[in-house]
Amino acid sequence: MSDVSLAVAQTRYSVKGYLRDPSALVFTIIMPVVLLLLFNAIFHGNTLFDGIHVKSAAYYTASIIAYTIMLNGFGSLVIRIATDREAGQLKRYRGTPMPSWVYLFAEIGRSVVTIVVTSGVLLAVGALFYGVTVSGHMVVGLVVYVVVGTACFAALGLALARACPTTDSASAVGPFSTVVLAFLSGVFIPVAIMPAWLLDIGKVFPLEHLARGLQLAFLVPGSTGLTGTNLAVLVAWGAVGLLVAIRTFRWEPLAAGAC
């Protein structure tokens, strides 16, 4: 069996485990859909975006997709790695001839699968129930941002995994940072009613740029939303995350508190 087909088999194995884990399904798919329904109920009608009136439903469909990318690509990836490492699974894998990258490929692949499925569900809910119009430009932007955003957050997830010695700490840090950044990035609250200084803080982090890029693609007719700034910030954060991960990633269980 070639390493590539092994990586594919390992990914299928990981996805199979995911489908058998009800709490993971709730956390990664159902929660974003419920958030979309809730925000559409609370902020229905129009909102201001870059000085123009846009549909709240389109704004939130784009924003919650960005949130989903961070939640699955980063938050749940950190938790899975911390869990597998704490349980000794990573150490066990390390003791087999399986190349290390196969495991990482499979776990990131599982995140990609959940992101694609959840984004598709969110887009379908937006289009069917809230009249969000789907255009070619928008789909191009969506695909590119899903790829670049997932890569960025997965790299950051691998980097953060070192700082979370246990499942418990990863379960706190991963989702918590996702929620905080979601507030700072105009994902949960429309940018029109956010204090400027909070948004300025949010602009330092990658979620703001992912959300803004998707909002542009969904809200500005004829735009893919692919701007140099947004993509550059995502790539830069991803590169930093990758470098940190390469230098600090650990396969053996970490003693609690040994950050």
């Binding site: 069996m1 092994l6 088999a9 390992q10 194995y13 199979k16 485990g17 058998r20 884990d21 597998d84 349980a87 000794g88 699974q89 150490k91 066990r92 390390r94 003791g95 087999t96 001839p97 399986m98 190349p99 053996e252």
Partner: protein, 302 residues
Amino acid sequence: MDCASRTATWSGSTASTSRYAARRFSGSSGRTNGAGKTTTIEILEGYRPRNAGDVSVLGVDPAHPNRAWRNRIGLVLQECELSPHYTVRETLSMFSRYFESPTDVEAVVALVGLVDKAGDRVAQLSGGQKRRLDVGLGLVGDPELLFLDEPTTGLDPSARREMWEMMEGLRDAGKTILLTTHYMDEAEHLADRIIILRQGEIVAQGTSGELRDSLGDVTHIAFRVRTDARLDLLGMEADISAHLDGVLVRIASKSVQADLGRVLHWADGQALELADLEVVRPTLDDVFVELAEAPPEEVRGQ
């Protein structure tokens, strides 16, 4: 497997051993935690760096584990959980893909005694069954050398007995196994060759018989007789203690066969009935206690 004057420092513990070669089934035993078993085995498994000495496992230095070498060894680690969402068969099948020439998964299922559980998820297995699946994962790559790190720790007596039967099966199938254990009866029952570590040093090694012999002459012949027996005619030095129904006699014997003959001859001559007659060899636990309690400088020579 050779270890030449290996010294490893890891988290403050120092391990150094003299050269040893593993036979078919070796047991490495330390009564107390911190004896150096896991440090030693993890150096051999390629998990830990050592700070001095030469180590060779299947001709490869485990400090630089490569894929070809990983294909030849099987590991059963301590404290390693499995994902609860997969069945026994799925778990073994996935692991079998990591290896170049794996064993047939169904054969491994049978070997570790999980045929009835092959379709069950790991979450449904008992502790002993999970541990046997661990062993199955160590075996699925058809390794030349299998490391078993405390495979029965924490198991109840019947699960432990089942694990023993499984390990006996592996031994009879010709697998080379390095087993670590806290339990001397386990080492004695399963191992062809036993190495006892204390604070990371080999304090004794050999077959179970050799280890017992290393204690010197402590085999006893023991029996009970009537209080009016003529022990003076026995002509042997004996420990005598009064007992509810007679006298308990214990004779330290250097030559059990000859001494036993003399005892039986004496008893026949006196028309005595020897109750509870037994020849008591020191157990490996006795060896162990002796080694564990002796100061290091006394045991080093063994």
